[in-house]
Symmetry: C2
Subunit: 212 residues, 2 copies
């Protein structure tokens, strides 16, 4: 029976590490950084407050892990789905794939990604450093995706792709605050987002009167 102990403890601690992070993400999303205490996290996770220290040295180490997991979930989904496309896939299909992957990952890890979005700037900068390289890598991924599309003429040459990236991801990130899966499937939201991004809303474009 003693032989089984290390293995069982390994499994148990993985479970409770995950439980702690899930509870912290849920609290961070709903109550913000200031209201999230170690004791409350332990209560929500259904564990002893003291046993948190088995996994994390402090509240801020937990926050750090939550923020990193939120960014990582989205980064990995988009990266992996782009990598899985056949060589030579056209730019618009690549952008469409990235939009869908971003939205699906964002919404299926709602507590983590919303916590990350909501506490951005609120959490002391020192605790955000772990997620920062991933954030930058994610910006680079999108910048390369849009830049390559523009260089090959797949998207308009007159657009500032850096501004485009920010407006597009803002539009998608916002979904985590209002999206209700019982109302419509994620794919429907993604499909219209891509459609409007590519074609715009005007049936046959005429310059607005402002520009006359």
């Amino acid at each position: 029976m003693n032989d089984n102990l290390p293995a069982r403890r390994g499994r148990k601690s993985e479970i409770s590490r995950g439980q702690i992070l899930d509870a912290a993400a849920r609290m961070l999303r709903r109550q913000g950084y200031g209201n999230t205490t170690l004791r409350a996290i332990a209560d929500v996770a259904g564990i002893q407050a003291g046993s948190i220290y088995y996994h994390f040295a402090s509240k801020d180490e937990i926050m750090d892990a939550v923020l990193e997991r939120g960014v990582a979930a989205v980064y990995e989904a988009v990266h992996d789905q782009l990598a899985a496309l056949p060589v030579g896939t056209d730019h618009l299909k690549r952008i469409e794939t990235a939009v869908i992957a971003h939205l699906e990952a964002l919404l299926s890890h709602g507590d983590y990604t919303s916590a990350s979005i909501r506490t951005y700037g609120e959490v002391p900068a020192a605790f955000q450093q772990k997620a920062q390289p991933l954030r930058e890598a994610y910006v680079t991924l999108w910048q390369e995706l849009l830049g390559a599309a523009q260089r090959d003429g797949a998207i308009r040459a007159d657009l500032d792709t850096s501004l485009l990236r920010t407006l597009l991801l803002g539009s998608l990130n916002w979904c985590v605050e209002w999206y209700d899966p019982s109302q419509r499937p994620v794919r429907e939201v993604a499909a219209q987002a891509v459609d409007v991004l590519f074609r715009g809303v005007v049936p046959a474009y005429v310059p607005p009167s402002l520009k006359e």
Copy 2:
């Protein structure tokens, strides 16, 4: 000299009411609801903690006023600028006007609107009720704007205007978190947002391969 006292006190209390709200909005934006205390608000506002009670009964009454002011600033700007357009102004010009007004109001009241966005859902629902009718009126305003444009064929008939509204406002709202006025003028951000919304990013649209 006594004759002047009521008038002077009137002016003074208006100033400190505004100072309290400004301080609260700044704290709420940077530190979240949980970390924002009456004492800290008083410190930032440069007044005695006790004198807050001259204006507000509780922290939550301050929060309520901050959230309401954030929504009101945007609502009024968009409403007033649409109302100022000549009768018969075409739909695209109206939408463009609303986008610019939304973005300018959002960014020029950054602490209030960001506080409102960040604490949405985090602040107990009871304290958000004051802003709720305005939020709903604002949704209605946009819904009517986009609905009228669609009925008259100015925007595509196959789009879900409710989803379009959410994606568009999400894209604009997000700007309050990243926009740096030293980098580019607000009008430039608004111009590209409108341009991409109307025309899309693809030079001459071809259906993405996903739809084949």
